[in-house]
Subunit: 211 residues, 2 copies
Amino acid sequence: MGRPPTNTKLRLLETAHELIWRNSYGSVSVDGICEKANVKKGSFYHYFPSKADLAMASIDWWMTNTIPFLDDIFSPSRHPINRFTLLIDFIYEKQEDMRIEFGQVCGCPFITIGSELAAQDEIIGAKISAITQQKMTYYQNALRDMIAMGLIDEKTNVELKAEEIYAFITGNMMLARIKNDLKFMKTSLKPSLMNLIGVELSVEDLKKLTI
Amino acid sequence: MGRPPTNTKLRLLETAHELIWRNSYGSVSVDGICEKANVKKGSFYHYFPSKADLAMASIDWWMTNTIPFLDDIFSPSRHPINRFTLLIDFIYEKQEDMRIEFGQVCGCPFITIGSELAAQDEIIGAKISAITQQKMTYYQNALRDMIAMGLIDEKTNVELKAEEIYAFITGNMMLARIKNDLKFMKTSLKPSLMNLIGVELSVEDLKKLTI
DNA sequence: TCTATATTTGACTAATCAGTCAAATATAGA
DNA sequence: TCTATATTTGACTGATTAGTCAAATATAGA
């Protein structure tokens, strides 16, 4: 009944996500998003009550898009060490793609917007915190499997270690964005992370595992 | 000769630093800075050619303020492990002070503004990268002393380890800001950092060292 | 073909934005 | 007291901002 739905809302979500990720929330205007998405301003406010609402929705949309990849990477059928090495590969490849396309290492979209807005808008702070927790749950799962397989110290505090891992990866992505440089992420992040986790396999063993 | 200098410029630097740190560059206006600093807009543009220039100058000003503290904390006269534990104490206390005063964990001012603006303004990206490098030099120094004292593996790659440390601390500060929560920083950051560095002292030994 | 409904449009507002400028003011040193 | 110089002021501009709204349009189903 009535006029059929279009992809306008989706175009706004995608465009907002890309522009905010590449630049910042504060530097992107509703007009700018509309122009790039080829949407008139009236349509924008037909779909979203405010710029902040769009940003929020675009975060949800991106996280929803990301979950299947995380489910795959952290599939219980994988060797738990492999889950982490695949995660780093996944992150690096996306960052490298964006660097090539936009000339800019963009870092983590959640953390970037979270850092910018958390102090002004506690709703967004809560949302990004929830995403953080969600990601750490994947890590905790892998860590428990690693303990069960005798790969790491059985006394490892899983919740704590997951938070360390998340902070470490996050810090690296942030620095990569600021420096606009993926060197560390490309060559060192994986072994450094393994060391942080406490895995005692040799580099050769790790290579065999990933292939 | 002529009218004597005032503290107007300093007031602008301080106010800009505080407002941008607590909120974000994009959400703070020149008018807002002027009002809080009790400076008329004409005076603002007498001292700074643009809002971006003020932000840049406030970063320099804050780093200049910070260096004496870092020189003290990383004094070669201190035990190198103590340098890192003091660093964490220093960071935590500042964050806790701000949380109490403003109701908000503010994280690292350099990283916050760097993350927001690096993609739009490569000059600021370069400046924050330089500050990053400067801080890592303190870490490298301490790590070399630790190797000399037999506290960590002599094969430790000092440049790499310093980058790991910086990313780890940075990531933690960022997450503390987003979550508006200092729990991890208060109770876990120090031992986690020691583990990352590869120090093999017991918790008891560490306690003795810090007191 | 008609109608209910969803979508799109473009002109609009009022506030805020960064930045300008000429004039006023204060004061140290001559 | 005079003068050179630095500082301060307040009114100003033009652009951009987020957000509004009534009217126009498109189409699926009756």
